[in-house]
Symmetry: C2
Subunit: 246 residues, 2 copies
DNA sequence: CGCATCGTTGATGGGGATCAATAGCTGTGG
DNA sequence: CCACAGCTATTGATCCCCATCAACGATGCG
């Protein structure tokens, strides 16, 4: 039976090495699994959670809403991620976390994680490392928002999501799930829905991608990567993605 | 005699509590102080440093340069910051770090920091917390880049820098040093130099700020904060800034 | 099958980029 | 002490990417 922590183990192995002891310790974490509807908030700005949320299956995103109602999506999360790991050390949350699509989440008590880290010191380092990679992704998003065109920015986002999904074995061939609406892609990139639509059409028209009914297929990785100026170094993966062909 | 680690202690005290033992351990860190010229790179993308850089006096910024030559500034650093603390756990740097103005930096061997954290476990948590706040600032920048107008974005940046400088006692009354050129402000906000210039003039013209010869004075904190929609919660300071008056 | 959400298309406008040139400031050397 | 060089700040003119407004299909679910 695949433990709920299987994806967490895969994720951590994609960014560092785990000993058998590490894996066992992770696998025996006490978790409580819950199903989440699309658009359901998991935790909100100002909350002081006492558990962390491990995404087991589905998609999540973190976001802020400004006083005038504008929403900015800050991060997109894939299975294996612990989007609110920071809540271990930051008293109150400064943003919201929601399921982007119907998802499975495993909730882990802070106390269990703290105990785990005291017990297995290598995991402290690896989890810290995970939050640092989280930050590296934020930096890359800042670059995208500040310097890239809509076309390049969207291409970059697609490259990133595909690469991260691939690192945890959630891609099939050259396609993956991407259950985000164009409105969500827009709020992630700081673009209007209309412009996201037109830009995606252009990417499709140029034969770079296929994107329909929440499934993304990369038709031309080399050119997509070039449009995006995508360099996966910032993801700090142990084995960077090398396209098999096509 | 003011130790070189004085600013680090102040910074950490602004985001958490230090025991006498913590302070002593920090004060006795072995450091090597170096003077840096304006625009001098400290570490570069791809480097694998074996020391961390503590900014003692001056300003620094982190940045990336795209293949087409565009520069995006990712963060602005003030005294007490350790801009490359992450290099402790991420093998290679994914961006550059440079002095924005003539600065003093204290370099601390990774080994000394690791030993410190093994010895004083509360500092592990506090340093981790520091990197998490670093990430929280990135998130707020993403919001600014995606959703705010140039006017609001620049106002927000000024609020942030002032608030952070104030937290470590580096402000005088309602003014502080801000040795950044308009080109640098532009690269931080994803705006052109020309537009930064005009927008700053508007902020000056509206009586919100004064900004000349690298000194910023806040003339109307309440209105500036409103223009910026600035809420310092994301800085996770122990005692948020309450304006004394004016 | 009706309604809501999502995706698509067209038309118009604006915020900010870009190009180009001038003025001010700072340091440096003769 | 001035002249010059180089950077920084400022101003004006023009353009374009993308936002916004407004409909209209498509899709899926109860």
């Amino acid at each position: 039976m695949p433990a709920d922590t299987e994806m967490l183990i895969r994720k951590l192995e994609s960014i560092g090495e785990l000993s058998d002891q590490d894996r066992e310790a992770l696998a025996s974490l006490p978790v409580q699994v819950r199903h989440l509807e699309a658009d359901q908030d998991v935790v909100r700005e100002g909350d002081r959670p006492s558990v962390c949320c491990l995404l087991v299956d589905g998609f999540m995103h973190r976001y802020k809403v400004l006083p005038d109602g504008k929403r900015q999506i800050l991060a997109i999360h894939t299975p294996g991620d612990v989007p609110d790991l920071q809540s271990l050390f930051l008293r109150h949350l400064d943003h919201n976390l929601a399921a982007s699509a119907p998802s499975q989440a495993a909730f882990i008590p802070h106390e269990a994680l703290r105990a785990l880290m005291r017990q297995v010191l290598t995991l402290t380092e690896l989890l810290w490392r995970d939050t640092l990679i989280d930050a590296a992704i934020f930096r890359e998003w800042i670059v995208a928002m500040g310097q890239r065109s809509a076309r390049s920015h969207l291409a970059h986002l697609l490259c990133e999501v595909f690469t991260r999904l691939r690192a945890v074995g959630m891609t099939q061939d050259h396609s993956c799930s991407l259950p985000l609406t164009q409105a969500e892609l827009g709020d992630a990139c700081g673009l209007s829905t209309v412009h996201v639509n037109r830009t995606l059409q252009a990417l499709r028209g140029d034969g770079l991608i296929e994107l329909q009914s929440h499934r993304l297929t990369i038709l031309d990785w080399a050119r997509l990567k070039e449009v995006a100026q995508f360099d996966p170094a910032y993801l700090h993966l142990r084995q960077p993605f090398v396209p098999t062909r096509l």
